[in-house]
Symmetry: C2
Subunit: 150 residues, 2 copies
DNA sequence: TTGATTTCGTTTGTATACAAATAAATTTTG
DNA sequence: CAAAATTTATTTGTATACAAACGAAATCAA
């Protein structure tokens, strides 16, 4: 006779069914890693946040530093570092806002403008290569779902 | 009379159609940010990479440090820092691999084992809350597409 | 108007994340 | 076997990312 069914060896709140590799957080991290690798293959001179800042300044024009951070999803401490590095490389300039002594207005320099325009095609290629494993319908679906997730 | 159509003001390789907020890299970054916020609400004491290391050690047993890094998608330098911090907190222990003098074998401590099991339900709640904006079908689709992207 | 609150930018500290270089140990190869 | 190549772990340096605390400036409210 076989034994009656017993409790599994693990304590209550079993972990046998926790598959890290299937969790959305883990998949997001890996997808981000792959995207970052593709990005630096195409644009070795900039990071994604740096490019995001340039793109936003190009699209929206001069912005206060914190406002630019909001547009590009970076907190105040993070955008500060990004702008400091872009400024050091001459891609952006800053000046005080005369109407608000607290604010620093960030703008693209001519070099920054040219640099951004020169990278737009690369940026499109980065998106294309990142999404390469998906067909057109899947790409749309993914972007849609990611947007909902925000 | 209207003027004849002229070239747009922007130079060739137009950037007017580059929408940062619709690029997969930007959406991945924002989704990851939201997930991280949810994670730290539920498990303030661990980071996602730290939890990933515990989960993998629990699932696979003792591993060499670099092997564990591979399982959890962290490079050698990153997993080192993660393990150092987990070790300092007594959640993992390390010992030299007698069969390979280069390797360090990492394993869950009893405390680490208990801590992990105690967090599994929180981890499931984190996934649930992260995916809350999606219905069941969309969740499956997203995980599928993210996996393809890797 | 002034006192409370909010916003802006900065600083400090911690934690990934990755490139590059290195030394030691192991494995592969000729 | 001996040389070459690879693997493992470490270290250094740079770049996000975020929490927390801070002073200065602007806004709100009683």
């Amino acid at each position: 006779m076989s034994q009656p069914k017993t409790k599994p060896m693990v304590a209550a709140g079993g972990d046998a069914d926790y598959q890290l590799a299937q969790q959305v957080g883990f998949l997001l991290r890996r997808a981000t890693q792959r995207h970052l690798a593709i990005f630096s293959d195409h644009i070795p001179d900039l990071t994604p946040p740096q490019f995001a800042a340039l793109a936003m300044l190009n699209a929206l024009g001069a912005q206060s530093q914190n406002q630019l951070g909001r547009e590009t999803a970076m907190d105040a401490a993070t955008i500060k570092g990004v702008i400091d590095r872009l400024k050091k490389r001459g891609l952006v300039t800053t000046e005080p806002d005369p109407s608000d002594q607290r604010r620093i207005v960030v703008q693209l320099s001519d070099n920054g403008q040219r640099a951004f325009k020169g990278y737009v095609d690369d940026a499109k290629a980065i998106t294309e290569e990142t999404l390469a494993p998906l067909d057109a319908r899947e790409r749309g679906t993914l972007l849609n779902l990611l947007e909902k997730l925000t």
